[in-house]
């Protein structure tokens, strides 16, 4: 067995360089509320490594992802950690006549939308060979964020070995000094920027998440820059009323964007269910390239902001229906 997969490292697991970054990151409790457009303008740069919170179509930062596409960022690397609709959104920045938004992708799960099927446009983008890929799994990619959030260069895992997934990753093998057992280790991954949608945040970025946190506890701490969007902006007093509920502390956060329904068309636990109709429309329209171009033109590139997108796809009656589906499922 080879002792190192042949995949490329898109981010060097250099703890000391990361430490220096985090040392210099501003840690004042300042008001970080700003528009989605401003947050993306200030904190997402070309060639950044991007991570996206939630679980593909659940608690995703749709508004921020749209804006990254709309502002035509180029050459991004991306962590495809069960990336479903989020990856589909980003792919609107490739092969649609506006350069190439995605350049390199660490893959655990992309292209597919779980039971809903594969995204034709995401397949086009990935199969064209224009994107450099490195293979991972959901857990090993989560573990890479965890290593970064812990500030160590690697973490061990017992799975993953013996496979072509390992062979096409950048994982390595070490010998356990106690058991002499060979173990797989994965390198720390500090995203340059992460976008995470949360239930509640105060203006400083102290955030609460209800329901599963997926990998966001670690993503938030690993990210060099972090933009959160929130369903509700709450007071600092309210945060202080229940510090146990704080999932992300202010010192991880660079920008706070107030975006009600911000995970639409994805599911937001305790708020609204996913809009399966609209997600089906994406998959259907992607089959016809011309129709697809018109679709993303209208819904993303020529929408001023997320509110306009929301109004075009989801009126109040439909949102009420999604709320009912979420709160009173049957």
């Amino acid at each position: 067995m080879s002792t190192r997969g042949k995949g490329s490292l898109f981010v060097e697991p250099d703890c000391d360089a990361a430490r220096q970054w985090f040392r210099e990151k501003p840690k004042r409790m300042s008001d970080k509320v700003m528009s989605v457009a401003e947050a993306v303008r200030r904190f997402v740069a070309d060639d950044d490594y991007l991570a996206s919170g939630g679980f593909g179509g659940d608690r995703i930062a749709t508004a921020l992802l749209h804006e990254i596409v709309r502002q035509r960022r180029q050459g991004l690397s991306f962590a495809g950690h069960t990336a479903t609709h989020d990856f589909q959104i980003l792919c609107a920045g490739n092969d649609t006549g506006r350069g190439q938004l995605l350049k390199r992708v660490d893959i655990a799960y992309i292209i597919g939308l779980e039971a809903r099927g594969l995204s034709p446009h995401a397949r086009r983008v990935v199969e064209s060979g224009q994107i450099e890929l490195c293979e991972w799994t959901n857990y090993t990619l989560a573990l890479r964020f965890q290593a970064a959030s812990m500030g160590v260069p690697f973490l061990p895992v017992r799975g993953f070995a013996g496979t072509d997934t390992f062979a096409n990753s950048a994982a390595a093998r070490v010998t356990c000094p106690y058991t002499e057992q060979e173990l797989t280790v994965v390198p720390a991954l500090w995203p340059d920027v992460a976008v995470i949608h949360v239930h509640e945040s105060d203006c400083f970025g102290n955030c609460r998440i209800r329901g599963t946190s997926v990998s966001d506890w670690h993503v938030a701490r690993a990210a060099k820059k972090l933009i959160v969007s929130c369903e509700r902006l709450i007071s600092n007093e309210e945060i202080r009323r229940d510090p146990t509920a704080t999932t992300i502390p202010f010192y991880c956060v660079d920008a706070v964007c107030h975006v009600p329904c911000g995970s639409y068309p994805g599911n937001m636990p305790y708020e609204y269910y996913s809009d399966e109709e609209h997600l089906r429309e994406w998959l259907t329209v992607e089959r016809d390239f011309e129709a697809y171009l018109a679709f993303v033109d209208r819904l993303i590139f020529r929408s001023t902001d997320f509110e306009e997108y929301l109004n075009r796809c989801c009126g109040t009656a439909k949102m009420q229906d999604l709320r009912n589906q979420e709160l009173y499922p049957s």
Partner: protein
């Protein structure tokens, strides 16, 4: 007494449900595995604990989730936690079963959900990748597969080994550092239920679905199959299973309508 009528999908779901004993823990996905786990829980295994890789534990599933991360996976649940917590719980040996699928499976139960083609750089079809499959297939004790049975899927050699089964045979999992005693357990197909030979670790026929012959199964399988003896006939769904499946598990016929 009349034989209940049922579809192949119903048979597969019921056979899978019968595999799960009470008091076990299982990480499930969407679709048929979820239906099987729900059915087991509502019939023979009321103490079966369902877990979902995004962090849901022990929900009262109001209906089948569309995503393994959606809010159904912790609806009135016991815990809504992280993906790491679920995977670590598997890694430390707490989880008995997981269900996996794939575009291809070989004689050792290795699975491919990454790509079709012979060149990684230029795949004929790029598939989603491992997701949690390779993790769960490495770390849970027993892997269950529910799949249609045809030669395109049951192949001699995978285009890409995404998830380890018994790799290239006896001792290979252990040599790769995977936990001893873990691995593929049952493959429940549209034609038969298959297991793995204790010594060779190769897939073998354990029971044929009613009306199916060994020749039929072999014809749809791209590698040589052996048969466990005695070769049995897959138990048909019980009336209670079918009633619960149709009325309580999948009333909208998302799965059983396929």
């Amino acid at each position: 007494m009349t034989t209940p009528t049922y579809t192949p999908m119903e048979l597969m779901i019921c056979a899978a449900a019968s595999t799960l004993e009470d008091g076990a823990m299982v990480v499930v996905g969407t679709g048929a595995p979820c239906a099987a786990a729900m059915l087991a829980q509502k019939t023979t295994a009321p103490n079966l604990t369902l877990m979902f890789e995004a962090g849901g534990v022990g929900p009262r599933l109001p209906r089948m989730p569309i995503s393994v991360g959606d809010s159904r996976t912790f609806y009135e649940g016991l815990m809504a936690t992280s993906m790491s917590d679920i995977m670590e719980t598997c890694q430390r040996g707490m989880v008995d079963y997981t269900f996996l699928g794939g575009a291809q499976i070989d004689a050792y139960g290795n699975l491919n959900s990454t790509m079709i083609g012979d060149n990684y750089q230029q795949p004929k079809v790029r598939l989603p990748g491992s997701g949690g499959a390779s993790d769960l297939g490495s770390l849970c004790w027993r892997v269950l597969v529910i799949t249609p049975h045809d030669r395109r899927r049951f192949v001699e050699k995978l285009d890409f080994v995404t998830t380890p089964g018994y790799l290239d045979g006896p001792g290979a999992r252990e040599a790769a550092g995977l936990p001893p005693g873990s691995g593929p357990y049952k493959v429940i197909t549209s034609l038969a239920v298959l297991g793995f030979h204790e010594e060779t670790k190769r897939m073998q026929l354990e029971s044929l679905h009613p009306g199916v012959t060994v020749e039929q199964v072999q014809a749809e399988t791209g590698f040589q199959l052996s048969c466990r003896s005695p070769l049995e006939v897959t138990s048909e769904p019980t009336a209670a299973q079918l009633e619960t499946l149709r009325r309580d598990v999948d009333p909208h016929r998302y799965m059983i309508g396929r």
